[in-house]
Symmetry: C2
């Protein structure tokens, strides 16, 4: 008798199980992401989940430093492997930086890579955040320099992916931190105040105008300047108008460089034919992390902006600065797949109802004809039609109930009468319609029914 | 200046980085596995890397108990999440057992699932084993009972996958532990000696005939009986002859049940049309783990048997016995992807030479025509042709060198002359041949060249 405590059987808080239905949707989402990353010329780089603590802490900043998981052996024995030097990655960027620093000579630059996989963070339980989640990242790393057109390509990739998901309208919001910093300086914000003010503006959408204004004033910015700043960064304009406004704002040299980068990014996005409704310049986007030095991105669903950003990233001047003196500028963007998918399911934008990835169930009405049914299944599979065959000894109505419950599209049925006539009934489980076809015509008929 | 110690930049021992070339081959291998799993009606189940220690240790046996990694926070702060109850999975079977025990009411049985992902084991460093590796598993779980035809289907799936990999001839070796145990008993081995004798026989291929004979004698088995046993389990026969031999061996009732299961598995494999050269009955296969109770599998490359088994598994009477009193028999098989892939590359059975997953490079000979080149790239991608566009400011010959180095198949070239004529040179980088085509015909031409 098992007396295992039931409460220990639920996965630990922050480490979600995906149900079979959710797992299928996840797999489909990952397949779309993988295909689009590859299509745009990003190739996979598979680094381990485990990194050395020294590597993970070398460039960590802020709360993340207290969230890194190290490993320990639960029951170490003498001569056991040393696990003190082992910890779990919390993003895909540090492993990339380490890999580039170590293997630069084997890489051809610009180096485009994607990484799709789990990362882990010991977030506080009370925040209800995931501690293990799937991130899907693309990055491009240059040797010494890297064209802003790479920043443009990422917008096209993200727009392609979210259009394919078919989850309603969305907008990639683009900004440039050089521009925002110069805009702050032109309003009298000092160099020391700039990073703090940027973080305050970054929270504008979350906390609202009043609180942001107060935050800016608290930093020591004059009230009038704070007002004007908020006015400037929250105006809704077409990209060209925003560029026009910036050009007329008489920013300093760094600001001008930022404007030129932003203009180049926009030019690239247009050349790539991205739908104009899918992107905008949003001068209030700053991204919290100070290592972004140019372009920054966020992406929101227009009708579900409470979801927060579903794809974020930006440009960093020096990817591997902690590890090497060679300069590798980069740009990257990341989709937080776990959070996105589970929220999309929750708000009903994605359906997770089928618990079979295969569309066809081969039923087995006559237990003595198992060989024939197995042949049917093998024939379908050889024709690249995914199918399950029902192998438990149950009556046909039970099998059809199983088919409905799992969400198959088609059931193939062959009772004695069909077996004798070398035919199969192809039943559409959504409509209830069925059709008897000769075995020779089975593949054609099934493909047609699934099309 | 970075003075980060170089030796800390290599990934820790047992946690391999895949190079870009290896990562691409890995991705292709995983895509094949995923597709074949799905085709045979197995659906994904995504459970976390992190499980509770109590769950992981509930049914662990042998050396694995000392290899389980627990988590700890590197720099805990007050109010930090409690990580004492967190550990890392070492296989996909325990998470499946936990999930089934917890969510049985939501599942339709027989429940087919696949799991592809990392598992971690604190193996001793001196064994040179991987501590983090990718396992690709399929399992079917029944409610109370489960047909042996499920065992047969797994052989077909494995045979399909390894045939697709195109890595030379291989053999799935099938046995049944009930049969082997009865064969031992019929040679005078006592019930207590059976599990130890099975483990000795399981090592036959590894340690050779003499040592196995001695091991059996050391257990207390009479020399003549030990001789006869080894004779019986190592004879090379066609499956039907082996079945004939077993039927004539007058085994006990459990042995007869095992023979009936084995016969049913063989029948299923034949009905599924698996090539007869790809499987055999091998009575010496036992698998170390005592929880296998019926069918057991191993798979070897005929010409590289030193690689060991590349896909192993078997039938267990009661998957979730540690967690629930409800009986869930199951059968599963697992491909050790990391070990397999890295060995196949090492022995030259798989090539890992290209560092681009996209076959086409759009070159950018004229810096003033970037918009045009970006349009070409977008057009290719919209036609589902994966391509990279070269965005660094380098001369064309440097770009073509980059293309060669990364292993692109085709380069698209448009100098001023082609730009004016609205044509593109399509250069085959393997043969050096090139052809100038009108822009309108570009997609057709590229698709043809890649076919």
């Amino acid at each position: 008798m098992s007396d295992f405590p039931k409460q220990l059987l639920e996965s630990p808080s922050g480490f979600p199980d995906f149900s079979p239905e959710e797992s299928i949707v996840l797999e489909k989402m990952l397949a779309v992401i993988r295909a689009h990353f590859a299509r745009a010329g990003y190739s996979p780089l598979e680094t381990p989940l485990v990194e050395r603590p020294e590597v993970l802490t070398a460039k960590a900043e802020g709360e993340i430093t207290t969230q890194i998981y190290g490993l320990r052996l639960l029951n170490p024995v003498e001569g056991a492997s040393d696990e003190k030097g082992l910890a779990l990655r919390y993003d895909h960027t540090i492993p990339l930086a380490r890999y580039v620093a170590t293997h630069a000579r084997e890489l051809a630059f610009p180096y485009r890579r994607y990484a799709i996989g789990k990362v882990l963070r010991g977030e506080r339980a009370k925040d209800g955040r995931y501690r293990e989640f799937i991130q899907a990242d693309i990055d491009v790393v240059g040797d010494t320099e890297l064209s802003p057109l790479h920043d443009a390509e990422m917008v096209a990739v993200i727009a392609d992916i979210f259009s394919t998901f078919n989850i309603g309208p969305f907008t990639v919001r683009i900004n440039n931190r050089k521009v925002l910093a110069a805009l702050l300086r032109s309003n009298g914000v000092t160099d020391e105040q700039v990073p703090i003010a940027m973080r305050a503006i970054d929270r504008l959408e979350k906390v609202g105008r009043e609180k942001t204004l107060q935050a800016l004033i608290d930093i020591g910015i004059a009230e009038a300047a704070a007002h004007e700043l908020l006015e400037s960064v929250s105006m809704q304009r077409a990209p060209d108008e925003t560029l026009g406004f910036l050009k007329s704002a008489q920013l300093d040299a760094e600001g001008e460089r930022g404007i030129a980068e932003l203009a180049k990014v926009l030019e690239g996005i247009r050349a790539l034919g991205v739908n104009e409704e899918r992107y905008t310049i949003d001068l209030s986007i700053a991204r919290g992390l100070d290592y972004y030095t140019g372009t920054v991105y966020e992406t929101r669903l227009d009708e579900h902006s409470d979801l927060g950003s579903i794809a974020s990233g930006g440009r960093y001047e020096d990817l591997a600065a902690s590890f090497t003196n060679q300069k590798y500028p980069g740009v990257g963007i990341s989709i937080g797949v776990t959070r996105l998918l589970l929220r999309l399911i929750k708000v009903g934008l994605i359906e997770a109802t089928a618990s079979t990835i295969a569309p066809v169930l081969v039923t087995t009405a006559e237990p003595t004809a198992m060989d024939v049914y197995l042949q049917y299944a093998a024939t379908l599979r050889a024709a690249n039609i995914a199918c399950e065959i029902y192998l438990a000894d149950k009556a046909l109505d039970k099998q059809l109930h199983f088919a409905d419950r799992k969400g198959f599209s088609l059931a193939l049925i062959a009772k004695q009468e069909q077996l004798s006539a070398h035919t199969v009934m192809v039943r559409n489980l959504k409509t209830g319609e069925q059709q008897e076809v000769p075995v020779d015509a089975l593949i054609v008929m099934v493909k047609k029914s699934l099309a």
